[in-house]
Symmetry: C2
Subunit: 299 residues, 2 copies
């Protein structure tokens, strides 16, 4: 089945101690949709400015994305620039230009409103809500968010939480959302805010899924070298939702394996800047790492 992905479509300028990469293809929707495209037909909703390079549109097309929901507007593309510290665990935003994303209020193409799987990748929670307003009874809705929205738009986040099946957020964000230091203890309190499934992302330490079947502790694929973790969380939810949409039967049954596919897709994202590595990967590379990971956790 098909998937809708909404989120930011951006240009990222990323500095690490080792390199500087200006105006890479970035944004939560770019990472998530490309990740999902390995598994299922993916429909991208976003907005870019008139400075958005044609080569990036071509890259989207190469991944078979349906772009009817991608608006090209007059003005600048959303631009994020940031710098990572040596250990890649801390990053600093150097500059943010919202550009066309500032007044982005998506109207979905009619065909999109019936898509069964919906990924609300990281973007303002009111935009995520606007998508849901237009959808006709989707089968499964996952939303991702970030600390920024918890800080400046908490009421909108709380409203959104009542309308989705699953929320994905970092461990520190999970703690922030319910004021509970311990992420494991935070999970039941997040369920009370609405979502039946909660995914706590822990970067290199994997993730925890909580749902009706209890907790699932998922590993990250171990990497010897981390080049740029930007977009890894987006690739994770993208791979997860792409996998779910590609599978028959009950979502609950497929979720754990979906998280493993998301985790592996995210591992490729970290191995080069922006989408450089992810866009070179083949489905078989993902399958191979999923098999390796299965061997690494069996006892």
């Amino acid at each position: 089945m098909s998937l809708l992905v909404v989120g930011t479509t951006a240009l990222d300028s990323i500095k690490t101690p080792y390199a500087e990469n200006p105006r890479l293809l970035g944004g939560s929707a770019s990472h998530a949709a490309v990740a999902a495209s390995f598994f299922t037909k993916t429909h991208l909703v976003g907005a870019v400015g008139d400075d958005f390079p044609r080569k990036y549109i071509n890259l989207y097309r190469k991944h078979g994305l349906n772009l009817d929901g991608l608006q090209q507007l007059a003005g600048q593309t959303f631009h994020w620039s940031g710098e990572y510290e040596v250990n890649m665990n801390n990053r600093q935003t150097l500059d943010t230009v919202l550009g066309v994303i500032e007044d982005f209020s998506p109207t979905l193409p009619a065909a999109y409103t019936k898509l069964p799987y919906v990924l609300l990748a990281n973007i303002a929670p009111n935009v995520q809500g606007q998508i849901l307003d237009q959808m006709k009874r989707p089968k499964f809705i996952v939303a991702d968010t970030m600390d920024l929205w918890l800080n400046i738009a908490l009421p909108s986040v709380l409203k959104l939480l009542k309308r989705i099946d699953c929320i994905a957020l970092n461990d520190s964000e999970a703690s922030q959302l319910v004021g509970e230091d311990n992420a494991v203890a935070a999970i039941p309190r997040i369920h009370k805010l609405g979502p039946r499934y909660v995914i706590v992302k822990k970067g290199e330490h994997g993730s925890i899924l909580s749902g009706p079947r209890g907790l699932f502790i998922a590993p990250a694929y171990p990497l010897k070298k981390l080049v740029d973790p930007t977009g890894a969380g987006d690739s994770f939810v993208g791979g997860l939702m792409g996998y779910l949409a590609s599978q028959k039967g009950n979502v609950d049954k497929n979720l754990r394996y979906g998280i493993i596919h998301g985790s592996v897709t995210a591992s490729f994202c970290c191995e080069d800047f922006g989408l450089k590595k992810t866009t070179k990967v083949k489905k078989a590379d993902i399958t191979k790492r999923v098999r390796e990971l299965a061997r690494m956790v069996a006892w």
Copy 2:
């Protein structure tokens, strides 16, 4: 089969934001030997002063520890006092009194020298080496260490690494040992220093075992409340070695399951101060959590 555990036997005074606990039973050997005692006959090698409370000796006995290798010397018992910050991830040493441990140079009871499993819990690497000097071809040797010894006794640590089957250390210590930020990349470099097996401990994020069968990514048992993590790493290696010693057949075959048993035993350690919780646990409680953990990682 039987297990020898050498390490510190100490009194710990532990402060957290919530409570203060003076003169608890502590030390790497106390935690490791009690953890191992759930699975196998365990022989304790250590030194205590004449101030060591009789009730702690009784606690050792309650766990069936063989204490022929525990020396009672004139002077003070090793005393560590420390304070944890709110999130329990950072701790500060407030005071250390070495006491009788300063000149501790163990001579093993004859019966100990033939024990097949040897756990060199955290203590000065030259003391760990002295134990090995006296052992007659043990079947499997694991050593634990800490940043202190990497800082002040690195040559002794490097010498020890050539004599053991397995080294267990924290992720930051693994990085420090070989000067490699990424713990996954540090592992092959640690193998080159000697040990066939390397275990990188990551606290609440579980652990990674590396050996001839490749990597094993082991989960930690998820806890909603962490009261005092002191001794968790020692309980982990203790539970692991106790389990290994209790099993028939090839160590390599049993290692992964052993790590899961160590991980679960360590989870109990964190739920109260010092050894308070661990000494109340029954074997059945451990088995129950091992089963739960198995369900939490299956996909």
